[in-house]
Amino acid sequence: MATVIVDVMPKEVLLDPAGKATARALQRFGDGEITDVRIGKRFELTIDGEVTPKLLEHIGEIAKDVLSNEVIEDVVSIRVAD
């Protein structure tokens, strides 16, 4: 059993309302050194068997087509968990 982790983030140029609200809340709590927060998504895919380069490539496609909305999000990393 292996786990593949896919990280998805909102595109940098776009507004991230939840991240903005969190940053404002942290600043209100006195954490002035935190100037910005961006909130993304982490997917943990449990794999039956070995993670081959071919499978990783396939997961890359899934990440782009299904796990993320490529109009407003970027897949920032795909990696096998330790």
Binding site: V13, L14, L15, P17, A21
Partner: protein
Amino acid sequence: MTEHIPDTVENAAATPEKDQPYHLLGLKPDEYQRIRDILGRRPTSGELAMYSVMWSEHCSYKSSKVHLRQFGQKVSPEMTKHLMVGMGENAGVVDIGEGWAVTFKIESHNHPSYIEPFQGAATGVGGIVRDIISMGARPVAVMDALRFGAIDHPDTNRVINGVVSGISFYGNCLGLPNIGGETWFDPVYQANPLVNALAVGALRHEDLHLANAKGVGNLVVLFGARTGGDGIGGASILASDTFAEGGPTKRPAVQVGDPFAEKVLIECCLELFAGDCVEGIQDLGAAGISCATSELASNGDGGMFVTLDNVLLRDPTLTAEEILMSESQERMMAIVRPEKLDAFLAVTTKWDVEASVLGEVTDTGRLVIEWKGQTIVDVDPRTVAIDGPVYNRPMEYPAWLDALQADSPAKFDRATGGDELKKQFLAILGSPNEADTDWITNQYDYYVMGNTALHTPDGAGMIRIDEESGLGVALATDANGRYCQLDPYLGAQLALVEAYRNVASSGATPMAVSDCLNFGSPENPEVMWQFARAVEGLADGCLELGIPVTGGNVSFYNQTGDVPIHPTPVVAVLGSIDNVARRLPSGWQDDGENLYLLGVTHDELGGSAWAGAVHNHLGGLPPRVDFDSEKNVAGLLSAAALEGLVTSATDLGTGGFLRAVTDGVLRFGVGARVWIDEIMDRDGVDSTAALFSETQARVLVSVAREDDVKFRGLCDGRNVPVLRVGVTDSTSGVLEVQGLFDIPVAELARVHRGTLPAHFGPVVGG
């Protein structure tokens, strides 16, 4: 990283031969030359950015302007009597009495909603709501007119799910009831859905605000969300270009909306208005700061000085050109007297809204913008915002139209008996365009704020404006693209009379119109002909009915590949009612009430739901329009509502008589027995026409027995043709079409409500 060096006015004058990518920004060679002529030099890159977005079709109305003038010319004194603000401002304002005014407008967000349905539709709602705020009003309701591709096409599922969740997300978060609208499915909208969002707001007469920058020395303040890289160039690239089929889908950066920021902005603006902190105000939509500064300056004293470095940025790496073009949402620009600035900032601080002073109003006649200490824009703002290019585009009578009109549905055999009519009726009732839209509207909150008097599935939405007196407004949107394809002049008028009749059927008096004109490419002479005919039809129709067009928008380039959409001029009619307690629901609730049909029936089945759903046919001519009859019926309904003589009213539109009866039955689940013999005898039509014809100016009403004589007297007195066509029946649980067929109410409901869920999944709360 190399720092971006802004192109200054000085630099532009010194380097006249510099090659500029004007064509990538959507400008034609002659338009670029015109900018050079206006400035007497080449534009700076900042100026080029401003001209390109402001001269885009979306912002400049360059192809439609020559036709839209009719809305200002075909006007009678009756039409302007209640008009406080007409076309040209952010939204029209209508006086509804008791010191109240309402402002409303419908606007398209079509292309963004295909690229990213959720955010596209959400920011469509956000944009139209800001138009309402900028008039000084509190938004009180929204509506949406939607068009999607074929219901069984796989991509329709993606688009409808995204669009409907986007609208519900933004509207529900804002706390605005969504009280109506309409939805159609047709393959012509497959790669080009239409999302037309309407918002209505209420204000006291004295709270009216306009978008102008007056008073030399007054400050220009940008407030709301920070400026980021959202939808840069969206106005010119997105709204004025066609989606090419085959090639990779165009997916530029779209905008992401934040409804909670907008909600705060609404409350902040209303408090600023109440504290008299604002001289002029403009929302930032398409073309962002370019649009707001040039329009405010053009409509005021003519000059403005802005330091672009003062714009609060979400992304500090933005270039000056990007800041000028950014379409970041939830931003407003206000003109503030210097002595009021502290009070202004106290209010924005209270609401946790960021604000920065960008510059001031001048009387130089120039809009001057500085960036890093150098002048990057120096233009006459009128050349940017008002005196853009105007085109008299070539028009051509469509080559295919005569053949289409000649292909009348008269060629189809008529049903011979009750069984066949029943089968046809059920086919119509379950067809995508006639089916119940609970799947959509149940995702919207239609009761929030507690002032909703009517909402979907009622033909019009109604909102109480004054909680003491009960004064309210009703709104309906309509457009039948099938009718418009057959005859755009009549089609636009049919959209108008349908919306007018929907409002009248709620018991309100129609007062004003806003329109959202969705068409194909203006560079196609046949499309341009359709557009010109539709505008002419609408302007003539408004003059006949005595209600003005107060504003709206034009959306061109709606097509998939080379195939333009059906002309879709969505018409929104607003009416007022003295007391919403006297509203007329669209269905009957009590047993033994008489059903009356107002108006006469002709054999009019061209472009009808019957032709479409039963015969998969579009051809012939749409129904005729009779404005005098429409006005008569509307007047009667208003009088009957005032006297409490009718208990419900349902207008006859697509699907005809039997569809209206079904609406009456299903609204509260009360059956009825109806008969059509007298319609057939009096009007000389067969059973198919009596049941399914879409003749206009007809309304079905229910009348309590004790009011029967009075009601008939009212009809006689007003010369409205009337026939008793049925009785309500709360015990049988059946709709009986006498002598033809019976259908249990439960089966009607199943057929009518089953279509959308069968394609898109279960109904929320259903």
